[in-house]
Amino acid sequence: MRRYFARKVAIYLLTFFVAVTLNWLIPRFMPGDPVLRMLTRTSVSNPDAIAPMREYYNNVFGLDVPLWRQYLNYWAELLQGNMGISVWLFPAPVTEVILDAVPYTLALLIPSILLSWYAGNKVGALAARRKWLDNTVLPLGYALTATPYMWIAIVLAWSLAIIAGVFPVAGGYSFDLQPSWSLVFFNSLIQHWFLPFLSLFLVAFGGWAIGMRNMIIYELEADYANYLEALGAPRRLIRRYAFRNALLPQLTGLALQLGVLVAGALVTEIVFGYPGLGRLILMAIQNQDFFLLQGAFLFIVIGVLIANFVIDIVYVLVDPRTRTGMTGGAA
């Protein structure tokens, strides 16, 4: 087990290293100049001012030292949680800007991932058991999982927020509220959260449901299931085993789907004007705010890595094969 984790951690660290390096590398060798951006922003019209201001901003963005130093500085700063200064939102530090947005994104992602996974697996398992349920869940699941995230968001926003007016159309909480520990505020948070959550949940749910349904069907054909049947075990017991065993690949699937879900959250936020990372990234793109974009990218990478690691741990907890296979001893 130790070897298993050591290997995993090594891969994650390497991925992180690659991501950071890539992240550092690209803007420095691509066209586009944050200093120029700032000069444009401040509309310098005085020719004499350009040179000193260029020098000044070079210093602010840490671009006034040799490349190798910039790279080391980048790491040093990063390890202190410092991802530089945003160009678009100058002079706000990138970390600060991102940390303001992250809670919203996490509030969408974590519940939608966990709940869709849970509900999808349950319903998928049920579907594999009953023909009529299978005939309804399967097409619905395929339709949902084939639906682009933003489209389901668009349809929900249009029908429930704009036409029916049941839900608000934008924002993280009502614009007439100040954050407080009140029921009103909490309600407002939930209301604004619900539709973006729902659109993420639905698409992911469809995927898990059909995934589980198909997995179970394969599991029911597995040798242990055949053996149990030959020994006259009731279907219920076999299905219970099949469900549990089918959960494992679904868990792996969860790790694989994280990136997709993050992407879904980003576009969903855009549709609902939800103040999370998605909008921030969109604006960073449009403003070529490399530093903010890098920060957001790293943040997502770190988030996905951590989530992967958590899933690895859970996997080891639920799958005796990884656990015992590595330690080689009986429990």
Binding site: Y4, T15, V18, L22, I26, M30, G32, P139, Y142, A143, T145, A146, T147, P148, Y149, M150, W151, I152, I154, V155, A157, W158, W208, I210, G211, N214, M215, I217, Y218, E221, N245, L248, P249, L251, T252, G253, A255, L256, Q257, L258, G259, V260, A263, L266, V267, I281, I285, L293, Q294, A296, F297, V301, V304, L305, D312, Y315, D319, R321, T322, G325
Partner: protein
């Protein structure tokens, strides 16, 4: 947006436990039932079952219908998809089947052009991802050893990097302005799960008698992979491609939607982007934003359902389910 849940199954065990874990193994093609039959008969059998499988036939009809629509329909128009041809913001009518945009563009024409881009990006992106994934999977699985370790590492890294985030970064720096280049980038980041699955499959095929025989007869590694291993996984590879196709389409729609799509071309994601930006939701121009999403859902959904059908065709055990 690549690998949707159906893929997670094939992927399954190697992801978490490595070889030590006996997988709920890759279910298709390489199974003893299929292998026992001679090749030609197998193909005939598969075709026979495929044509009788409701999922394959139904899904296939939907996909082909959309393909035909995308290929043929634009030929009947003598104006472009961006031209202002009709009244502004008018609903579906006999003349403009899907209504018009806020500028008076023909939504139906945009839709059929969008379907073209959708298929193009699916074919190219899915094809490229399949090519990369299979090559890496075959080589890693067949050659093994250090090569396998290195490729495995590469696969794991690309797998964990969130593709959309990477593509956004790349787009910002490089700029992606055509459907093929968009497909290229999607392909480059969608292959890892394929590589893993193919590697696991190859691993198990590598020790089979017929591969040993080929090796003894002095066949080179490349030839063995091409002539002995790949054909034995052909049905599986085909299904993988279908999943990658769907994934590419969804991925491209996402990119187009956030404004990172190609320019000068119409795509379904771009239609949604335009509709949203021009307040179609608030102004109630539902005919502008419903068709593109429905189109994607129908095409990708049909492909996925076809995939399940094919799974049943290639894996006789499942036929009765």
């Amino acid at each position: 947006m690549s690998d949707l849940a159906p893929a997670a199954r094939e992927e399954a065990a190697p992801a978490a436990g490595g070889e030590a874990v006996s997988a709920p193994a890759v279910p298709v093609a390489a199974g003893p039932v299929a292998a026992a039959q001679p090749g030609a008969r197998r193909t005939r059998d598969a075709l026979h079952f495929a044509l009788r499988n409701k999922k394959v036939v139904g899904g296939g009809i939907v996909v082909l219908a959309f393909l035909a629509l995308g290929l043929i329909a634009p030929l009947f128009y003598d104006y472009g998809h961006s031209e202002y041809v009709g009244p502004q913001s008018s609903g579906p009518s006999g003349e403009y089947w899907f209504g018009t945009t806020t500028f008076g563009q023909d939504v139906f024409l945009q839709f059929v052009h969008g379907i073209r881009s959708t298929f193009l990006v699916g074919l190219l992106g899915g094809g490229l991802a399949a090519l990369i994934g299979m090559t890496i999977g075959f080589v890693a699985g067949y050659v093994g050893g250090l090569v396998d370790e290195a490729l495995n590492m590469l696969t794991n890294i690309v797998l964990v990097l969130p593709a959309l985030a990477v593509l956004i970064i790349l787009h910002t720096y490089i700029g992606i302005t055509s459907v093929p280049s968009q497909a290229l980038f999607i392909g480059i980041f969608s292959w890892p799960w394929v590589a893993r699955a193919v590697r696991a499959q190859t691993f198990s095929l590598r020790t089979r008698d017929f591969v040993d025989l080929a090796r003894l007869s002095g066949m080179g590694s490349g030839a063995i992979i091409r002539r002995e291993i790949a054909p034995n996984m052909s049905s599986y590879l085909f299904m993988t491609f279908i999943l990658l196709f769907g994934g590419s389409v969804l991925f491209a729609a996402t990119l187009d939607f956030i404004g990172l799509g190609p320019t000068g071309v119409m795509s379904l994601g771009l239609m949604m982007n335009n509709a949203v930006h021009w307040s179609a939701l608030q102004l109630g121009l539902w005919w502008w934003f419903l068709p593109p999403g429905l189109g994607i859902t129908a095409i990708v959904g049909a492909l996925y359902i076809m995939n399940v059908g094919l799974d049943e065709v290639f894996n006789p055990k499942l036929r009765e389910m």
